[in-house]
Amino acid sequence: MATAAVFPSPIAAAGTVRFLGDEAAYWRLRIKGAALVVVTLGIYRFWLATDVRRFLWSNTEISGDTLEYNGLATELLVGFLFAIAILVPLYMALALVALELDMVALKPVLTGFALVALLGEYALYRARRYRLTRTVFRGLRFDQHGSPWRYAIYAIVCWAIVIVTLGLAYPWTQAFLERFKMRNTSYGDLQGRFEGSGLSLFLRGLPLWLLIVGPIVVALGVLSAKIDWDTLSRLIDEGDDAETGRMIGQMLAPGIGVAVAALAASFFALLLLYPLFQAVKLRWWISGLRFGDIAVTSRLRVGQVYRVYLRLILYLFLLGLLAGMMGGMTVFAVVGIVRLAHNATLTQVAAGVISVLLYVVMMLGSSTIYQVIVAAGLWRLGAETAALSGEAALDGVRATGSASSALGEGLADALGVGGI
């Protein structure tokens, strides 16, 4: 009795990372999923999210073995319901507070916003834990510890610092947050670390910052130089708002041209350089990941990321063209019918239905295109250009950890935050 004497081993060499998935299959998955999500008014999104993660995880091969996502759609649904149970009273309380206090005042609005942002960061951290504990590799699961509230506070403070420094502090805050997250991440008993430095990201991103934020800073400088602060403070003391406004307008008027030009320059720089920013950030992030003795490196090229975004623009343009044509034809057809029927109510309902349909198609279409071309595209690029060193350690990891609840996922979903 001949037995299989050959033990087929994986084709890839140790230490390589590959993405095996086929883009056409992913298109089908996403398009069918989007249609079902609309038809079920959103309830199907938990199944779509689970399918997407199964596809992406299962097709990511590290050192010859693929990741596995073993989360269930029902877990996400339960997490969502749980989150609703928390959010409904919270929103009620916020509404009551708004009613008691002066609704138009700035302070309650800001506090409410800060609260929601805090809750969002909390949800993101817990959602990350859910996804990690549902990720299985070679029979062992990943895990995440650490207090989500602590992370949320750190994240909010970091965002405040980034805003105040007009983005200059971003590299260091990102490094800090990633170090926190990775310090609390483990694969089996292999401890995670993050070794990307804020300084290296800063140096690589400084030209970008100068080109995008620089013009805005210059514009602000020019405008503030034009303001006669003494006259202005005198007018504010007098309390005549209309007069103050007029005076500000007069003082700023000569600088308006410069300000508009600067804003335009900044905007175009942003559009052109955004892919570069994404590339720099992704490469920096992947190159900083560590698990025990295993280090990840990235040879991601900026050109590859630009190609991804150019594809995005092309597909969005085609979608717009298609929607425009379909919309135009439908409008013609409907107007013809309505003119025969002479019914005013029918026009409205028809007009309403067409606009809603067109809007939904555009939104779903652009979202699906973005997910397939950019989100999954960058995932594939990141995987294909990553490599492991010290991967011998992959063979000796031992199991620890347990699964977590899907509450974070539910909160993140209900609050509208979270990525893949």
């Binding site: 609309v38 008014l41 309830i43 996502y69 029979g139 063979d395 209900a414």
Partner: protein
């Protein structure tokens, strides 16, 4: 590897195949040979040692790339995995293990159930929104205390006032001050007094005319009614103004503002909360809210029209005056977007009002002098007209210190008094 399918053979050799095995305690990859026995899979290691036995009943398929059969065990905390890459052997295992859901049929059935149930949920959501929400809102509205309504009204009022007051007139946005304004306000108070007596509402009603040229009036929760200057200008008799004011009093009496807030909150809850975050959801929410709100409004406006007719009759005025002014004002306007308009087709309203109200001669609710004064309620103060433009704003804001400006000495007092005594 032999796959004996001939049952007449003396010994049916169980299929064997190569696989990759992870035991779930350590990440080491083990190349194993698997034998698909009668009760389960026997896993043999490199030295032909039996590593483990997995019963068919425990086998579960896990997510895997195409072409790989990844097996796990149910009821185990360890995440041991067995990966089979040979399609023929994988098929043999699937034949023997019923729990594996070959081809994903069970999963598809589950999803179909999800989609069908979701569609049912959508239908039920729509029914609740169209029928349930207005009923619940109507039941809840009487339970809201008047003090809460007034708080709601004043909270909303600040926002509405600043939106309407586009020229930022502030206190001068309200008419009824200055010499001619005060007389007009007195006439308005007389008119409103007659309506209040006929209506006998438990609300402290307050009517204010503001400087907007559109023909409109609205009532806030809590009893504060705003009328636009455009209404006063376009009215040809005091009863027409009274009819519109009585219509707004109807909204106050029926607590329409509060009910609308409850309905909007209910719709927001249903469509906002329940649906969560998905692309295209925003459009559904807005569309649903707009359509549903418009259809509620039509009934509410018709009820307010009926209230106006009843109050005008009791007050002794012309109940058809509301219909008259509506017909006149909208005579030249197009039909427009009916379903999205909060006020139903004016022709229908006019017909309905005239059907409810008996035709007949009535005495106007205000005398000629009072009516003339009311028409002038928004006349600008004469000092503003003669002063240079730069100080106009300060002049107007200087005189709107309550209504006690009648005794203020004015340089052009002569013309003003003359204008007031028509």
């Amino acid at each position: 590897m032999t796959l004996a399918t001939d049952s007449s053979a003396a010994e049916i050799a169980p299929p064997r195949g190569a696989a990759i095995y992870f035991d779930g305690t350590c990440s080491a990859r083990n190349d194993v040979e698997v034998e698909a026995g009668t009760a389960g899979l026997h896993i043999f290691g490199a030295d032909r040692r039996l590593l483990d036995e997995w019963l068919y009943a425990e086998l579960r398929r896990q997510a895997s790339p195409d072409g790989v059969l990844r097996l796990g065990r149910s009821g185990e905390t360890l995440l041991a995995r067995l990966e089979v890459r040979d399609p023929a052997f994988a098929a043999a295992i699937e034949d023997r293990a019923v729990t594996l859901d070959r081809g994903g049929a069970a999963e598809r059935r589950l999803r179909r159930k999800v989609v069908i149930l979701s569609l049912a949920a959508v239908v039920s959501l729509m029914v609740t929104a169209i029928i349930g929400v207005p009923v619940i809102a109507t039941r809840l509205t009487p339970l809201v205390p008047i003090s809460v309504e007034q708080k709601l009204g004043s909270a909303v009022e600040k926002q509405i006032r600043s939106t309407l007051d586009s020229k930022n007139l502030g206190a001068a946005f309200s008419c009824g001050s200055g010499a001619s304004g005060a007389a007009g306000q007195a006439a308005l108070d007389k008119l409103v007094g007659k309506l209040k007596a006929a209506a006998a509402l438990p609300y402290p009603l307050r009517v204010e005319v503001v400087r907007r040229t559109e023909f409109n009036a609205f009532a806030l929760p809590g009893g504060h009614i705003y009328a636009f200057q455009g209404l006063i200008d376009r009215a040809e008799s005091p009863d027409e103004v009274a009819g519109v004011l009585a219509h707004e009093m109807g909204h106050v009496a029926h607590r329409d503002g509060t009910r609308t807030v409850l309905q909007a909150a209910g719709l927001s809850f249903l469509f906002g909360m329940m649906l969560g975050d998905f692309v295209g959801g925003g459009a559904v929410v807005i569309a649903a809210k707009t359509v549903l709100r418009s259809s509620y409004s039509r009934r509410v406006e018709a009820a307010a029209d009926a209230y106006s007719v009843a109050v005008m009759r009791r007050a002794g005025g012309d109940p058809r005056a509301l219909a008259t002014i509506l017909a006149r004002v909208t005579a030249n306007k197009d039909e427009g977007i009916k379903i999205f308009e909060d006020h139903p087709d004016t022709k229908d309203r006019v017909a309905a009002i005239n059907a409810m109200a008996p035709a007949g001669a009535t005495v106007p609710l205000l005398g000629a002098a009072d009516w003339a004064a009311l028409k002038q309620i928004c006349a600008p103060s004469p000092t503003a007209a003669t002063a240079p433009p730069g100080t106009a704003t300060t002049a107007v804001s200087g005189t709107t210190s309550g209504k006690a400006s009648a005794s203020e000495p004015e340089p052009a007092g002569g013309t003003n008094a003359g204008g007031g005594q028509k």
